[in-house]
């Protein structure tokens, strides 16, 4: 797990994560990118803020939950902070497992929980103004899908 301002290289990270492990039969990954449009407005740049300490702890906890829930080997999460431009990479999730089902599901779970539980905040700079991005109910709904039914 890394929180960093630097960019990342998907290929290099996958190579490192699966090196020498012949039990891995599946690798699923997700990359989130900065778009040049949000809510109908042109976005010139975006600045990501985090809560040093709590952000890392919460990502570790989300990874721990994924490993407890699915049959997976390794997880890598990289989340960038600071100022980013359209087309820049924001977040990377990689999951390795024996079979694709666990890798796909864990990867989606990790992203849904990162978006709703890890302390990051986006501020969009538009031409001539700036605004903090509001949390979306659709993200809460996506995360809620993974809540286990009461037993």
């Amino acid at each position: 797990m890394r929180v960093q301002s630097e960019d990342f290289d998907l290929g290099a990270e996958i190579t490192r994560l699966r090196a020498g492990n012949a039990k891995i039969g599946a690798v699923a990954s997700f990359i989130g990118l900065v778009r040049d449009l949000n809510d109908g407005d042109a976005v010139a740049s975006m600045t990501l803020e985090h809560y040093p300490g709590m952000t890392e702890r919460s990502i570790e906890a989300i990874i721990h939950s994924a490993k407890a829930r699915w049959n997976i080997y390794d997880v890598l999460v990289i989340h960038r902070v600071g100022r980013l431009l359209p087309c820049d990479q924001i977040v990377l999730v990689i999951v390795t497992s024996a079979h694709r089902g666990d890798a796909f599901a864990a990867c989606e779970f990790l992203m849904d929980y990162l978006k709703t539980r890890a302390p990051f905040w986006k501020k969009e700079e538009l031409p001539g103004s700036a605004r903090w991005v509001d949390a979306r109910q659709s993200d809460d709904a996506a995360a809620a899908r993974w809540e286990k039914p009461a037993t």
Partner: protein, 85 residues
């Protein structure tokens, strides 16, 4: 009781500060009491921490709720709902 307060993102800008050390009155013992006490400062404190406004509170880097108790020396963060990913 003395605590460390941290503010992030939109709240940090609206309140005009990113952190402070606060000596709480004796009656302030939980998150609800803290936000009520801060909200009584007037101005942006009152509007941002009013009932129905969307904000979250973490104590010692764990999410808290209105009933969560405060403790001496605690790091208490107040921030908007998260928007990463």
């Amino acid at each position: 009781m003395r605590i460390r307060l941290l503010y992030f993102a939109r709240l940090r800008e609206a309140l005009g500060t990113n952190s402070e050390d606060a000596d709480l009155p004796d009656g302030v013992k939980d998150v609800a009491g803290l936000t009520e006490w801060l909200g009584a400062r007037g101005g942006a404190w009152t509007t941002e921490l009013a009932a129905g406004r969307a904000y979250r509170v973490a104590i010692n880097q764990e999410m808290a709720n209105a009933e969560t108790r405060l403790s001496e020396g605690a790091e208490v963060a107040i921030f908007p709902p998260v928007t990463g990913g």
